[in-house]
Amino acid sequence: MSRARTAGFHVTGSALAVLFLLPMLWTLYSSVNSRRAADGEPGWGLDNYERLADYGSGLGTYLVNTLVVAVVAVAVTVVATTLGGYALARLRFPGHNLLFIVTLAILMVPYTTILVPLYILLGWIGLQDSLIGLGLVLAMFQLPFGLFMMRSSFEALPRELEEAALIDGCTPGSALWRVLLRGVLPGVVTVGLFSFLAAWNEFVAPLIFLTDGAKFTLPVALFNLQSGSLGSVDFEALQAGVVTSALPCVVVFLLLQRHYVRGFTSGALKG
């Protein structure tokens, strides 16, 4: 590699990196910089965040709602696909092929199209306008990726590991808990991470399923802030909201980057 080419690579690379980071830096900058910041005087301050905190049912409520949905989605996805992945990888049972195919079919069905019947169905089972119901639906959409990931995680473990556990007196059930879970933990983290990002950021499903303003998740509340009919849009509070919504994702991603990339290299995306 010649020196000129290396220099060219770094110039192009850093120019593109700046270009991609610029919109995020701008929103961060405008969220703490306001015409109305610092007692009505233009300048720096957390004024935008204070107005955001008081918006509607309160930023705290929206954050808690979003967190509840994300936790339900992550917990259900992880538990269902870990047990299901183990069952499909190691335990033969009647209908295992059918279950695998039907679960993967979720990928083939564009999810926005089944939101309308889901809206009716959630009403029938008493989960209309419910954060739990929303979390369950978002978990369902994560099942194909999660199942693929967990099934291949279990298949990648050496069979001897399970056999050794069985010889040592474990049942297939306790072998899963005591021995195998440790081996598939990276897969579990990947599935949880994908599920968290999807649930935290979801917009159209909560827009349709939630009607009570006090139950809105952050993206829906911010959309209301933007499209609010009363007077002009508070652009600065809106950018404070964008930062609040994006920050957890950026932090979680930077911490767990390695596990995120595994989702791509494992072939789970290829289905």
Binding site: L21, T27, G84, L88, P110, T113, A246, C249
Partner: protein, 308 residues
């Protein structure tokens, strides 16, 4: 029973008859355990996926108001497919899908070529390029709504600097389309870059060396070696990009609210269901979208298989 035949030589076998009985009970226990462990997932799939799918088809043949009783009405709901507004939404969605898939594909491929090689500093670039992809699409749209509408935003500053006068970024169909494609490219380029990069890295470097030894230049290597071998990955990114764009909702719902004839197909489903409060017609449109996407995805998956 592959499990047991493989396990047989390794399990200690003191006496034959009790062992066979033991093995049979183990197989039975495994079957029961398999059903038990698979049941949470099966329950979710049946209740939240299979039943809604059937319900969707049933609803499409019923007059089904948002509130109130429903009644069968044959294929009447399917007249929604001839609604001029819906036809216009199809046109716009196809146009958006074509532009996005091409622009996004080219940008992502360029980025993937840039960052595929492991060398000092490349990790930081990959992270920076990928970072927009972890921000939610709704948040991204709200962020760009601010960029497009704030006078003092760097975007308007740049236009001013170039002396192009104020631009109404979302003020017409073409402007809104271009602005949205730009935003979507920013948001998704890193995501597709990562997929394409994984594909590029799985190509055996020996093939490049052989091509170079045969006197191929860089351009020839790209066309004759890289692209053909990358076909499965390219097909995958096509499937994801086409499906994602055909179902576009968040970006236009937030940026334009469907104004200036930028309503997408999914926005018309939403309007049909929750503004016109006619769930039956919304279901009919959904059934049609589903049918089209299954055909599109089926064709593309065949392409994907052939490339393997």
């Amino acid at each position: 029973m592959a499990t047991l035949t493989r396990a047989r030589p390794r399990t200690p076998t003191p006496v034959a008859p009790p062992d066979r009985r033991r093995r049979a009970t183990i197989a039975g226990a495994r079957r029961r355990l398999g059903i038990l462990y698979a049941s949470p997932m099966a329950l979710l799939v049946v209740v939240l996926f299979v039943i809604p799918l059937v319900l969707m088809v049933w609803m499409s043949f019923n007059h089904w108001p948002l509130l109130g009783a429903s009644a069968p009405n044959g294929v009447e709901n399917y007249s929604a497919l001839q609604d001029p507004l819906f036809l216009r939404a199809i046109g716009f969605t196809l146009k958006y899908t074509a532009v996005t898939t091409v622009v996004l594909g080219l940008v992502a491929f360029g980025l993937a070529l840039l960052v595929q090689e492991a060398r000092p500093g490349v990790g930081a670039y990959r992270t920076a390029l990928f970072l927009p992809s972890v921000v939610g699409l709704a948040s991204t749209s709200l962020l760009f709504y601010g960029l497009f509408n704030t006078e003092a935003s760097p975007l308007n500053g740049l236009v001013d600097f170039l002396g192009l006068g104020p631009v109404d970024w979302l003020g017409s169909t073409d402007n809104a389309l271009a602005s949205t494609v730009g935003m979507i490219t920013w948001r998704f380029a890193g995501f597709y870059m990562l997929i394409l990069m994984t594909g590029l890295q799985s190509i055996d470097p020996v093939l490049y060396e052989a091509a170079r030894a045969d006197g191929a230049n860089r351009w020839q290597i790209l066309w004759r070696v890289t692209l053909p071998l990358l076909r499965p990955t390219l097909a995958l990114t096509m499937v994801l990009s086409l499906t994602g764009s055909l179902l576009a909702f968040d970006q236009f719902f937030i940026l334009t609210g469907g104004r200036h004839e930028t309503a997408t197909v999914v926005i018309s489903v939403y309007r049909e269901a929750f503004l016109s409060q006619d769930l039956g017609r919304a279901a009919a449109v959904s059934v049609a979208i589903l049918a089209v996407l299954i055909v599109v995805n089926g064709a593309q998956l065949r392409l994907l298989r052939r490339g393997r």
